[in-house]
Every structure is written in structure tokens, then in C-alpha cells.
């Protein structure tokens, strides 16, 4: 291997070697991005539900006499 041109040429097999690496890299990126997104979405949904519960609890307890807050 003497220069950058040789490197990209891959001994004449550039059309096979580079797609193989591109697909591998794309697959790794896809796996990471979808995993991070799944986690963010799940946490957001949970936060929303807990927020709604919190509000309802607060409303429910404000309807009751002050002594019942606990």
C-alpha cells in the first residue's frame, strides 16, 4: 500500500469492500440510535403518566378536608 489512491482502490475490489464496511457502520449507528430513542420515548411516556397521576392526586386531595392531605 503506497498511497491514499491505492487505499481507496482496495486492489480493484473497492466495489465490494467499501459497501461491506458502509453497511456494517450503518448497522451499528442504526442500532445505537434506535436504542437511545426507545429509551427516551419510554422515559418520556412514564414521566407524562406520573405527571398526570401527580396532578390527579393533588386534585383529589384538595377536594378533601385539609386534615386528610397525608
Amino acid at each position: 500500500m503506497t498511497g491514499a489512491g491505492d487505499f481507496w482502490a482496495m486492489g480493484g475490489y473497492a466495489a465490494f469492500v467499501w459497501p461491506a464496511y458502509a453497511i456494517t457502520l450503518a448497522a451499528l449507528v442504526l442500532l445505537l440510535v434506535t436504542a437511545l430513542r426507545a429509551q427516551r420515548q419510554a422515559e418520556r411516556a412514564l414521566a407524562m403518566l406520573e405527571g398526570a397521576r401527580g396532578r390527579r392526586h393533588a386534585r383529589a386531595s384538595s377536594d378533601k378536608p385539609a386534615g386528610d392531605l397525608a
Binding site: G11, Y13, V17, A20, Y21, A38, Q39, L49
Partner: protein, 239 residues
């Protein structure tokens, strides 16, 4: 084993592992790609196409080991009814499907210049294609149930039945005539591959493994959160 069935404890453990597996991937994968593309020689017969091996073979190892992990966690889920084991199986499946697809596509890209064909219906290639369908079938089956527990149970049975395919893949190159070369690393009598080609292969395999662990932890955490969400919704609906 039962100690890890507690979701809270399991979550603590995997959260402690996560920075290490992520760090290992961040080091191993760039080193692996460097060794594979620049730091290793072309093959005397296959030229530079041999570099496809450094992504193809580790992807194939991942495809089989992820399925084996799913079979083990499915067995645990069926026998002891551990919710965490069900979530691990479910979280691992898409990762295994992607690695199997990478294995099939890179293999095809290697087959065309070296064998003169993109695809051949021989035992090795066909059994790996069956593995891909097992992954996809599992994902479809688990998501086809409204009740997540029933879906996970049906999926666990499918994974265990399909496990018969894993030894078939491994030994297919010995049992049947094929274009595919036989094992040169995991064989009795030790590897038959030169150290300059073994090094990038092993670094890449370790990088893929640590990357898998990282993504698996992220997905299991998401599944645990969704499970909590389901429990809360159910409590709300019955309250």
C-alpha cells in the same frame, strides 16, 4: 440466578456495566476498523476482499451467540417465570436480526468476487437465512399479542425450538458440500489463520460484543421502563 430476577437490582447492575461496555466499544471499534482496513495485509489469494472477513465473521459470531443468549434467557423465562429474562430476550432480538443481516449482506459482497456468485442455496448460507427469519418471526410473534406476558411466552417457545438451527449453522460446512470455507478459528487444534489477520478479527469481535452489550443494556432499560408504565396504567385502570 434468582438474585438477578429483581428488576431494580438488575437495573442497578446493568447501569454500572454500561459506561464500561460503552467505553470498551469506543476504543475497540475504531482500533478494529483501523487494523482491518490499514493495519493488516491483503491475502495472497483473495487480495483486499479478505478485509470483508473482519466484519463478516464477527457479525456471524454475533448472530449465533445472540441467538444462543436468547435461547438461554427464554429457558430461564419459561422455567422460573423471570420477567427480566423475558425482557432480555425481547431486547436482544432486533440486535441479533441486524447482525445477521450484516453477515448475509457482507457475505454476499464477498461471495460475488471470490466465488463468482452473490448467493448459493447451500447449507451454510440457507441456515443463516433461516436464522434471520427466526429473529424476524420472534419479533413479529411477540408483538402480535395484546398481552405482553403471553407474547413473551409464545416467543420463548419459538426461540427454543429454533435453537436447533444454531448447531446446524456451526457444523453445516463439515456436514455438507459447500462453497463456504470451513472454520479456521474455532476448531480443534487451534486457529489456522495468520496472527496479522487474527488480531483485527479478534479486536473487531470484541468490539462487536461490547457494542452489543451496550445496546442491549439501553434496550433492556427501555423495556423495564415500558413494563413499569404498563403496571402503572393497569393500576390506574383498576383503581
Amino acid at each position: 440466578m434468582h438474585r438477578y430476577a429483581n428488576p431494580a437490582r438488575f437495573l442497578r447492575i446493568v447501569t454500572a456495566v454500561l459506561p464500561w461496555s460503552a467505553g470498551a466499544s469506543a476504543v475497540l471499534l475504531p482500533v478494529g476498523f483501523y487494523l482491518a482496513l490499514l493495519g493488516s495485509p491483503p491475502d495472497y489469494q483473495q487480495g483486499d476482499t479478505v478485509r470483508i472477513m473482519y466484519v463478516h465473521v464477527p457479525a456471524a459470531w454475533m448472530a449465533m451467540s445472540i441467538y444462543s443468549l436468547m435461547a438461554a434467557s427464554s429457558a430461564v423465562a419459561l422455567v422460573w417465570r423471570h420477567p427480566v429474562a423475558e425482557l432480555v430476550t425481547k431486547a436482544a432480538a432486533p440486535i441479533g436480526a441486524v447482525f445477521t443481516a450484516v453477515c448475509l449482506i457482507t457475505g454476499s459482497l464477498w461471495g460475488e468476487p471470490m466465488w463468482g456468485t452473490w448467493w448459493v442455496w447451500d447449507a451454510r448460507l440457507t441456515s443463516v437465512l433461516v436464522l434471520e427469519f427466526l429473529y424476524l418471526g420472534y419479533i413479529a410473534l411477540v408483538n402480535a399479542f395484546d398481552d405482553a406476558t403471553r407474547g413473551a411466552r409464545a416467543g420463548a417457545v419459538l426461540v427454543l425450538v429454533g435453537f436447533v438451527n444454531v448447531p446446524i449453522i456451526k457444523f453445516s460446512v463439515d456436514w455438507w458440500n459447500t462453497l463456504h470455507q470451513p472454520a479456521s478459528i474455532m476448531r480443534l487444534g487451534g486457529p489456522t489463520i495468520d496472527i496479522h489477520m487474527l488480531a483485527p478479527l479478534l479486536v473487531m469481535a470484541l468490539g462487536f460484543t461490547s457494542f452489543f452489550v451496550t445496546v442491549l443494556i439501553l434496550r433492556v432499560r427501555a423495556e423495564l421502563t415500558l413494563r413499569k408504565l404498563r403496571v402503572l396504567r393497569l393500576a390506574q385502570a383498576t383503581a
